[in-house]
């Protein structure tokens, strides 16, 4: 990083179904908590970046920048960032650029999504906006369908069994049981996963992250120091349509962003103790562990077969159990990494947030100083 960027404050709403809260109220709650936790006050915020994917479709509300700015007394300049499910982390990356250039000193990044206001079939259609409308959508494909194709291809190539895949969601639910902000804090057994309703063969309902409401806010500053700083912020992209990919069993954007992030942070992979990865579907978690270099290709599931004390994966419960309000996820992963480092007293944590079928990917490395 060109400059030391500190995580000066964090706050989030619990993720879940918030029927009685609007998109503005969700943002307000997260912002208030972030400001409470920070040493700076509201008037120190000089820029706001809002990460959101679907507010037009779900809340008939675009123009989220000024909407968020007016939550603060001085209504600072504000903008919105959209990159499907990676919106949150891409907004963090945008903030880093502004901070490094010196254009801003203290930025409030808010990730927010309000998904439960519309029917599930409509949300499914809206989420398909993250895929290619001319190449992927016309045949009636949904996002679970895309990852169903990914899973079938992976199982065919590496012989992953349905029973093994069920370990992923089961572990994430067990982790979420300890997280008061998680949408689902119940335990599920691998058998529960295997026997849940079919969604997109071979994926079952408990392989899929839920539809959630929630907001997460993070104050990044070059002016107000804290014990946590961003050691790396890198993004990478790939083709939007899966028809333009050479393989479905690995996501090159993750590999690309990861190698750049390690270089930027000037650390080795094994110095990282906590990772929060984008498990929108269980199969994605397996592939992410491999693409991040924590397992060989085809061996990602081993990370879920036995616990590794030196590397925690999705201790928050991940997208599956903690919830996945799409625009908020990337910001929430960073907040959770800070909490994990604070508790474990370790030095490095990593977050990986992707959009679509990893057509955009952002990786952040957080350091406890």
């Amino acid at each position: 990083m060109e400059k030391a960027i500190y995580i000066a404050g964090t706050g989030m709403t619990p993720f879940g179904e918030w029927w009685d809260k609007s998109i503005r109220e969700l943002m307000d709650e997260a912002v208030e908590k972030a400001l409470e936790s920070a040493e700076c006050n509201a008037l120190d915020i000089d820029t706001i970046i809002v990460a959101n994917m679907l507010a037009e479709s779900t809340s008939n509300q675009a123009h989220l920048g000024p909407l968020a700015a007016n939550l603060l007394p001085h209504a600072p300049p504000a903008l919105r960032v959209e990159s499907a499910c990676a919106s949150g982390a891409i907004a963090m990356h945008t903030a880093c650029g502004l901070l490094e250039s010196g254009r801003s000193e203290t930025i409030l990044v808010i990730g927010v999504e309000k998904m439960t206001d519309i029917a599930p079939s409509d949300i499914s259609t809206a989420l398909m906006g993250a895929a290619d409308a001319e190449k992927d959508a016309p045949c009636g494909l949904t996002f679970p369908g895309i990852f169903g194709l990914v899973a079938s291809s992976y199982m065919n190539e590496y012989g992953l069994t349905r029973e093994d895949l069920s370990l992923v969601s089961s572990r994430h639910h067990a982790n979420a049981a300890k997280n008061p902000y998680a949408q689902f804090r119940n335990q599920v057994t691998p058998e529960n996963v295997t026997n849940s309703t079919k969604v997109a063969d071979p994926l079952r309902m408990l392989d899929c992250s839920p539809i959630s409401d929630g907001a997460a806010a993070c104050i990044l500053s070059t002016k107000f120091a804290s014990s946590f700083r961003l050691a790396a912020s890198q993004i990478a992209t790939d083709s939007v349509s899966i028809t333009d990919r050479a393989s479905l069993t690995s996501f090159p954007a993750t590999k690309d962003a990861m190698s750049k992030a390690l270089k930027e942070a000037e650390i080795e992979r094994d110095e990282i103790n906590h990772i929060e990865i984008h498990d929108c579907f269980s199969i994605a978690a397996v592939i992410n562990v491999e693409d991040l270099g924590f397992a060989e290709a085809g061996k990602g599931i081993n990370a879920y077969k036995k616990e590794n004390s030196s590397l925690t994966i999705n201790a928050s419960g991940g997208l599956k159990a903690c919830g996945h309000p799409v625009g908020a996820t990337g910001v929430k992963q960073i907040i959770d990494s800070v909490k994990q480092l604070h508790t474990s007293k370790k030095q490095f944590a990593l977050t990986q947030n992707f959009g679509g079928a990893c057509a955009s990917c952002a990786i952040h490395i957080i350091e406890q100083v």
């Binding site: 029917a119 599930p120 079939s121 409509d122 499914s124 259609t125 398909m128 409308a133 001319e134 190449k135 992927d136 959508a137 016309p138 045949c139 009636g140 494909l141 949904t142 679970p144 369908g145 169903g148 194709l149 990914v150 899973a151 079938s152 291809s153 065919n156 309703t197 079919k198 969604v199 997109a200 063969d201 071979p202 994926l203 899966i242 028809t243 333009d244 990919r245 479905l248």
Partner: protein, 309 residues
């Protein structure tokens, strides 16, 4: 849901997708998005023979698996709220049959001229005239049928009972068969391999009158290459105009009862759709407006084929 202009642009590439391919990944979407039929959709990522990859629906999951070959088939995908009917390429898993050693000697047995088209379009008339005009090159293959004989039938039919028909099928003598139901009875039609092969032995080209299933059966048995397949359509700008033309012809020939005409028109609509949806099964589409020009065209093809033999 995809809007009409997006759909339109996507369909510009449709022609490129009309080719065989291999399944790379496969899934069944249990809850298709809004605007689609509620039934689960079988969707595959397919590598086409030209190397491009596409996403498409599979017509069936029977024998569908990663690595299997699929062939394209136009299908109605959905009807939009505005009434716009969206067609797209679906893919059908190809059933692989074991190649029998002895059949290797007869990789290309010869040509068969197949005439298809809706009831009343004049298949029988055209085939009779063709046989009469080019009798030294072509010969009509008798149709085995379980339907009762009626006035106006000529030597084209061999009438058998249902039991006899079934026995012939069980013995494998009938290579292509179809059931064209009447409102009262099931009516089976079929062709025997022996009849077709005996015409080849005489050095002539067999002529058959077919519909989708018969055509598919013949294509599966003798190979698609053996079929010189003609689709006959009545004149008319629209399907409705074609159907009213057929109705007129059926009434005029005075052979069928009112009910039978209704049944025939119902089947005719399917046959017209088949010409478009199964265009892989047809080599030429002819509009039967002037009988002479249709016969001239057919004779021209026969002569060409006879020369290349």
């Amino acid at each position: 849901m995809t809007n009409p202009p997006t759909q339109h642009r996507a369909q510009k590439k449709l022609r490129n997708n009309m080719q065989e391919g291999t399944i790379l990944a496969i899934t069944t979407v249990s809850h298709p998005p809004a605007g689609f039929n509620k039934a689960p959709r079988n969707i595959a990522l397919i590598k086409l023979n030209n190397g491009t990859r596409v996403l498409g629906c599979l017509t069936t999951m029977d024998s569908a698996a990663i690595g299997k070959t699929v062939r394209p088939r136009m299908q109605l995908q959905r009807v939009m709220e505005t009434g716009l009917r969206i067609y797209d390429v679906s893919y059908e898993p190809v059933l692989m049959k074991e190649v029998k050693q002895e059949s290797l000697d007869h990789v290309f047995p010869g040509y068969i001229i197949a005439l298809s088209g809706p009831s009343g379009v004049g298949k029988s008339t055209v085939s009779s005239l063709l046989v009469r005009t080019a009798s030294e090159y072509v010969e009509r293959v008798p149709i085995i049928t379980t339907r009762k004989g009626m006035q106006g039938d000529n030597e084209e039919y061999i009438h058998v009972t249902n039991t006899e028909f079934k026995e012939m099928c069980d013995r494998g003598e009938v290579v292509a068969c179809t059931n064209i139901p009447d409102r009262n009875v099931q009516r089976q039609y079929g062709y025997k391999a022996k009849d077709i092969e005996s015409i080849w032995t005489k050095g002539k080209i067999p002529v058959v009158v077919t519909e989708e299933h018969l055509l598919q059966g013949l294509s599966d048995h003798f190979g698609r290459r053996s079929l010189l397949s003609f689709g006959l359509l009545p004149p008319g700008e629209s399907k409705r105009a074609m159907l009213s033309q057929l109705l007129h012809r059926l009434r005029k020939r005075n052979r069928d009862t009112k009910e039978s005409i209704e049944d025939r028109i119902k089947n005719a609509e399917k046959d017209i759709d088949c010409l478009r949806e199964r265009n892989d099964l047809f080599d030429h589409i002819l509009v039967n407006e002037h009988l002479e020009s249709v016969i001239d065209t057919l004779v021209g093809h026969v002569m060409n084929t006879a020369k290349t033999k």
